[in-house]
Symmetry: C2
Subunit: 194 residues, 2 copies
């Protein structure tokens, strides 16, 4: 590995974290390397930089493409495939969220939906069913929120994040405003009475 110490540390860290993130070491390392590379890299450059086999690089790049974490590029007059990580970190974040949802949440949601179709017969089953329903409700609520939020452009998303829980204060304010409007309406109606 002929990398600057910083890049090397970053690459190794991603390799180690890989297992916690549900990808393997090589995939993590390759992604990290591409992420900090100023220009697209071809497979052999990755082999060279990370000291792993050509076939491993090929398979790992394939996986990264499946995750939409890496983009295939071509350089005119060069037959080789070159790869980069998308530039926009927010876009990367979206892709990651989308893929994780697809792999980690959607299958469970679908199983829960199916299991909720069968009518419980025993007391035990009735209990289980309620719990499945609770889990289903929660997941659905969270994924609905996500499906809604993911369409926001980056700027709005950032605003939303930076606001954090302050949003609820805002909600309280509007609630109070609504109440006020309602009570005003009530008073006016009363005044209209003969």
């Amino acid at each position: 590995m002929n990398l600057t110490p910083t890049v090397q540390a970053f690459v190794l860290h991603f390799g180690e974290m890989g297992s916690r993130w549900g990808i393997n070491r090589t995939v993590g390392q390759i992604y990290a390397l591409l992420y900090v590379s100023p220009k697209p890299l071809c497979a052999d450059e990755i082999v060279e930089a990370l000291g792993i086999s050509r076939s491993n690089v090929s398979m790992s790049l394939r996986e990264l493409q499946a995750w939409n974490l890496v983009i295939l590029r071509h350089i005119p007059g060069d037959r080789r495939d070159f790869f980069t990580a998308p530039e926009d970190v927010w876009q990367i974040f979206r892709n990651l969220a989308e893929e994780r949802k697809k792999r980690e949440v959607d299958p469970t949601l679908s199983v829960l939906r199916d299991l909720l179709m069968v009518e419980p017969r025993t007391e035990e089953e009735r209990f289980a069913r309620t719990r499945l329903a609770e889990m289903h409700g929660l997941i659905e609520q969270v994924t609905n929120w996500y499906d809604d939020i993911k369409r926001l452009d980056t700027e709005r998303l950032a605003t939303l994040l930076s606001l954090g829980s302050k949003v609820t204060r805002l909600l309280d304010v509007t609630d109070k405003a609504k109440e006020k409007i309602v009570s005003m309406g009530r008073r006016r109606k009363e005044a209209d009475k003969p």
Copy 2:
């Protein structure tokens, strides 16, 4: 496994998904079983229900405890340890989020912080540094949001979720209101001039 078909399907699904969620099959199955059980179970009941070794159950319960996904209970006059999943699904969700953050995000954030301390020397390093800074910025923004939001009680959290991206409309409204107030202030100031 002497479980009702629904429970069995649920348990097996959690077992299969386990690997995608960064836990192993047994841990997933045990959690699923406890989640739908109307009463706390002891280790031997789990052995019996899932057909796995006693020691495996012991180790897996230990891991579930580390994740705060399972609660140790005692029944008066009984020396055995009993376990349940917390009842409140929202609390479960919080625990899960907290633990995942701790394991999957915090270490990276800390590495990024360290790497951002070293001054870049070459052009290449400068580029890498900017990218690390971008990633660091994003993660920090998201985790700050999370740290803020996680303190909300369940009711407010649910409101927030159900509102989804509508929040931004609300923001637009308040922005306009602010503008209006500012312009009103301006007009008043102008009127105050001699």
